[in-house]
Symmetry: C2
Subunit: 305 residues, 2 copies
Amino acid sequence: MTPAAHGPVVAENKIIDGALLAERIKSDVAEQVRALEERGITPGLSVVLVGDDPASAVYVGSKERTCIELGMHGETIRQPATISQAELLAIVDRLNDDPSVHGILVQMPLPKHIDSDAVVRRIRPDKDVDGFHPVNVGKLLIGEKDGFAPCTPSGVLYMLQAYGVQTAGADCVIIGRSNIVGKPMASLMVQPGVDATVTVCHSRTRDLARHTRRADILIVAAGRAEMVTGDMIQPGAVVVDVGMNRIPDATKRSGTRLVGDVAFASAREVASMITPVPGGVGKMTIAMLMANTARAAAQLREVRS
Amino acid sequence: MTPAAHGPVVAENKIIDGALLAERIKSDVAEQVRALEERGITPGLSVVLVGDDPASAVYVGSKERTCIELGMHGETIRQPATISQAELLAIVDRLNDDPSVHGILVQMPLPKHIDSDAVVRRIRPDKDVDGFHPVNVGKLLIGEKDGFAPCTPSGVLYMLQAYGVQTAGADCVIIGRSNIVGKPMASLMVQPGVDATVTVCHSRTRDLARHTRRADILIVAAGRAEMVTGDMIQPGAVVVDVGMNRIPDATKRSGTRLVGDVAFASAREVASMITPVPGGVGKMTIAMLMANTARAAAQLREVRS
């Protein structure tokens, strides 16, 4: 899923509008789904939700609803936190073998007694629409196109491309080295065709501001509320904020407020474009998951038994 | 294979001695081989050589000889350049199923009519001692320890650790984004425990010297003779030269001379330590291949049929 088919978007008030782009992707996916229906295929995503973490339940509900909204099958398989490793693997095996299931996603985090790596490795790589199976991680880094890239980093790259950000030769600095965002983001940005010069910073980086101040594209996925301030940003840089942090705010009825890893007001003064929180990267993740699921359905061949 | 068991090495005349470290690794591997022999296991490496490229023949011969020197089985399967894709895959399948073969390596490059990616993907990941199968690339990036890392980058990391180079918090700049060196090198350097701040530069990077001059550790795998000169290096930096280039030299009987990607004389003036070419990184690659093969033999369980 690339923004190539659409014209470039212009940022109003420097804001990169994740909601706008997510709607555009979803509308493209709905069209793919209609074309697949004509071939007798209804793309299907099965999400396995273990335990009763409220945040996970919200994410999963939203994934299921979006599937249905786009004409796909969406199912959530709910299991108690007491499920055994073997029982969970058996569910994955059943979904692997079910030809009506094109995408499988096991919602993280899993209870401590479960080996999450083993669960992710058990998912058929061609149904791994989260892009976390090692073989998909490897294909992403090598530059092989037939795997799945994780949804948040591919959403970020889509945003940059949709807004016409020049990536070739740009200094791209990424804060964070998680397997979910930082590392796959670096893998995407360094590929031929994207061609950024990529730096990955993290908790052990010395003098972080020295790196952020030379970034043409700054992508922040550190998980620390408002850690990047305007003075750390090069004038004219494009700033992408992957953070989602709840901080206390007495003026809100809930007593909290959602903020990113970037101090938005001071950063917008300096940046040429910036993603807000909420309404930025967060909106892209589910949209890219839908795009991956539709592609899985289009690509899937026989089911290995 | 890590240098932890040995004391730190001190660089004489600033030289990081690849030959010395390679001998040390090979001696450690020979000891592992003796221990495996006691369990009735002789580690075996099978190298498939297609066509008659003279450089490939030299590399492959050296791999086979080193195996035998260390008490392992080493075999080279020579095939004509006219071999079909199906025939080559059938050879890989046979080696996959052969319990006496613990490591499989298909020497690159392959003739143009062969799909190299498909051949690499066909090798069982737990026999892929070159570390090029996507699942091993993915495990390396994620930080899962049960895969195989490519031999040249793991040799470079071994060198840095053997010479006591501080990697945590260091600015590590890598020139080159190949799947064989640059990308896996970056994957290794960014992992927790190594903890470098990693930048990957390449042919599209603007103002390369601006990056190299801030590097505490500079790793050059660009494939261009003597492209990094002393004025591009930060005083006191550690310089690792992965390049191997033949350039004309009328003073030599062969008419050529082997040089790296770093202009050695001017770089040594500035660097605190540097790998020479030859005698540096090149020596490490085969040693790490032997280490991977011994580990494959120690880990390998039943053969899937």
